[in-house]
């Protein structure tokens, strides 16, 4: 049963992710991305990472993607123009190499995993929906990465302003 649900969810995620690339209209791509995120959230729930799953829905699907779609609509972006492909090398080398990489990755995964996977530490599952565990880890063991993230985000904000503001 668990395997069936996992296969179903990951199938949706992969098809939707491929659809992002195939679609020519940005709105369709954005909507496909939302489908991918929701399917991923389902997989997170299967892994007992309920907090991450909820965050995935609230932050990515809820906030960021809505913003994405607003921007696309505001810009009134139409369907992408087909540009004649000048670089044929990419087609002839890139595709086979990419398929080879995916094939190898699949082969490795099927060889390495015995179907058991890595056991989730049971203590972390039972602790109040593991939100408390995440909070504890963020402010003790991962305090430094947590703080560094704020510097990273600051740099990104500065960058957005430098790139977009009319006059500095």
């Amino acid at each position: 049963m668990e395997i069936a649900v996992f296969l179903f969810l990951s199938g949706i995620a992969i098809v939707a992710a491929a659809n992002i690339l195939v679609q020519r209209h940005p709105i369709y791509s954005a909507l496909s991305l939302i489908v991918t995120f929701v399917a991923l959230a389902g997989i997170y729930i299967q892994m007992h990472a309920e907090f991450i799953a909820v965050m995935q829905i609230v932050v990515y699907t809820g906030a960021i993607m809505v913003l994405f779609i607003f921007v696309i609509m505001l810009l009134n972006a139409g369907a992408e123009q087909k540009v004649p492909d000048k670089v044929h090398v990419v087609k002839y080398f890139g595709l086979p190499l990419a398929s080879l990489l995916i094939f190898e990755a699949g082969l490795t995964a099927s060889r390495t995993f015995d179907g058991e996977g890595i056991p989730v530490e049971s203590a972390s599952i039972n602790l109040s929906g593991n939100t408390e565990m995440i909070g504890r880890a963020l402010y003790t063991q991962y305090a430094l990465p947590f703080e560094v993230t704020s510097v990273l985000l600051l740099v990104a904000i500065v960058g957005a302003i430098v790139m977009a503001k009319k006059e500095l």
């Binding site: 890595i118 991962y142 430094l144 560094v148 740099v155 790139m163």
Partner: protein
């Protein structure tokens, strides 16, 4: 756990100081009138000086801090100093450039400081997550710096290309991190090493993880086959940023590569040695051979920087302490010569970065002998002519390779070094043997650019004629290396 966190804060004083000053520059810039905004350069230099004091205060420390997130040892302190030198020279070189090109000085200098924070964290990381955060801080700062000439199409192209390919390579690296975590249940480098040594990790997964991580770091340091972005990005970037990109992220990338390969994956040495070996040979040949036919000097220096990444990879392949010491020596001296060369390129290119072709250097030797002499020293050092730091650096790397029985790598390296002499000397020939064009306009100098050039020349000659001091410092930095 609770009280000790505060006690460990002095270990990251350098990064805190840089971040605080970066924010201060951004705030000040808003309130200062336009005519006084060049004050940012002075503040940035003060910040770097203060950070150097903090960093030197850490000398002698040896251990991991913040629950094993960062490691302070000789290796990371030496690299932090290297990054501060790179940062100081970049800040100096870009102050007059930013005025000339009418760029936002405050944001420019603040972003350079943030980029140093990223590099520092990379060098000191003991955790795959910290490495990723440091790398992203550096990357985002570089994306913006590359595109800071917003009205210039080439600068935009450089920023966009680096951004797209950089995000792509980050994704590869993240996948590698995820696989390493999946195989060992930890992201701590030392713990990964222990898990593998204990035999409790799936080795197939580890090999794939090492390969993917190599793709991620290989992109940052521009080794073949992950080098294709380099010439376009260096050509389009504001020239001081080309200089910065060719030395800063490269040194930081190699620092991380060395630490990850040696601390986390020594058990996979037999596998990654092949990767590094092949990539080193390809990188040296592709970089040097393509550089031979470049007519744009920025593109030539870009291919030359690819070739130099190949020499440094030879040092990585040796995996011994002598090799790592040679790597430290090489990254620092390479920073001096490349920033010096790019600074002169930026001066000669005049307003708008237009004159970057080889012919624009015709007659420079007669019109401005001092500038031409300095550029000659930088190019000779890049070529590895004796009495320059470039020679000493290559000598240490190839000797380390020979000591570890990598005879072929050393031979290929020396051969490539000989190829490279051609394209470096070609610039010197054009400067001294060709007549200046009739519509020659003098190259405008600025005191800050002269300072950069003078410091670089001094450094190259100092470390070229008396390399003992620096190499023994590098050796002692490696000894504490675990």
């Amino acid at each position: 756990m609770d009280g000790s966190l505060a006690l460990e804060i002095p270990q990251i004083f350098p990064e805190i100081a840089l971040s605080v000053f970066g924010i201060a520059i951004l705030l000040l810039d808003t309130f200062l009138p336009k005519s006084k905004r060049h004050a940012a350069t002075g503040i940035a230099l003060a910040a770097i000086a203060l950070t150097a004091v903090f960093t030197l205060g850490l000398v002698g420390e040896d251990g991991t801090f913040f629950s094993g997130m960062i490691v302070v040892d000789g290796f990371s302190i030496f690299l932090r100093i290297t990054f501060l030198v790179v940062g100081a020279l970049t800040v100096l070189a870009s102050s007059s450039y930013a005025t000339r090109e009418n760029l936002a000085v405050g944001e420019f200098q603040a972003l350079v400081l943030f980029a140093i924070v990223g590099m520092n964290l990379m060098a000191a990381s003991n955790e795959l997550i910290m490495i990723f955060l440091g790398l992203e801080t550096l990357s985002i700062a570089s994306y913006i710096l590359l595109g800071i000439k917003r009205s210039d199409a080439k600068s935009n192209e450089a920023a966009l290309k680096y951004f797209l390919l950089g995000s792509f390579s980050s994704a590869f690296m993240l996948y590698g991190i995820a696989l390493a975590y999946g195989a060992t249940r930890t992201t701590n480098l030392e713990a990964i090493g222990r898990e593998i040594a204990a035999g409790s990790a799936g080795m197939t997964l580890i090999y794939v993880a090492v390969g993917l991580l190599f793709v991620g770091f290989g992109f940052k340091v521009a080794v073949v086959p992950f080098h294709v972005w380099t010439p376009d990005v260096y050509e389009g970037a504001p020239t001081p940023i080309s200089a910065f990109m060719s030395v800063g992220p490269k040194a930081a990338g190699f620092a991380v590569l060395v630490r990850v390969l040696m601390v986390a994956f020594p058990a996979a040495y037999a596998k990654w040695l092949g990767l590094v070996w092949l990539s080193a040979v390809l990188t040296m040949f592709v970089g040097n051979c393509v550089a031979l036919v470049q007519s744009n000097i920025k593109r030539m220096l870009a291919y030359s920087s690819i070739a130099h990444a190949g020499y440094i990879l030879v040092a990585v392949a040796t995996r011994n302490q002598e090799g790592v010491a040679a790597l430290l020596f090489y990254t620092l001296t390479y920073a001096l010569m490349n920033i010096g060369a790019f600074t002169i390129v930026s001066l000669v290119s005049r307003q708008g970065d237009r004159k970057t072709y080889l012919d624009d250097y015709a007659g420079l030797g007669f019109k401005q002998p001092g500038l031409a002499a300095a550029l000659s020293i930088f190019l000779l050092s890049l070529a590895g002519i004796p009495l320059t730091a470039g020679f000493a650096g290559k000598f240490f790397i190839f000797r380390a390779a020979l000591e570890s029985k990598f005879v072929w790598l050393a031979i290929i390296g020396v051969l490539n070094s000989a190829i490279s002499v051609y394209y470096y000397l070609r610039v010197i020939v054009v400067m001294y043997m060709k007549e200046a064009p009739d519509d020659w306009s003098p190259v405008a100098m600025s005191s800050s650019a002269i300072a950069v050039i003078a410091l670089s020349v001094l450094g190259i000659l100092q470390f070229g004629i008396f390399p003992d001091m620096l190499i023994s410092l590098a050796r002692s930095s490696v000894i504490g290396y675990r």
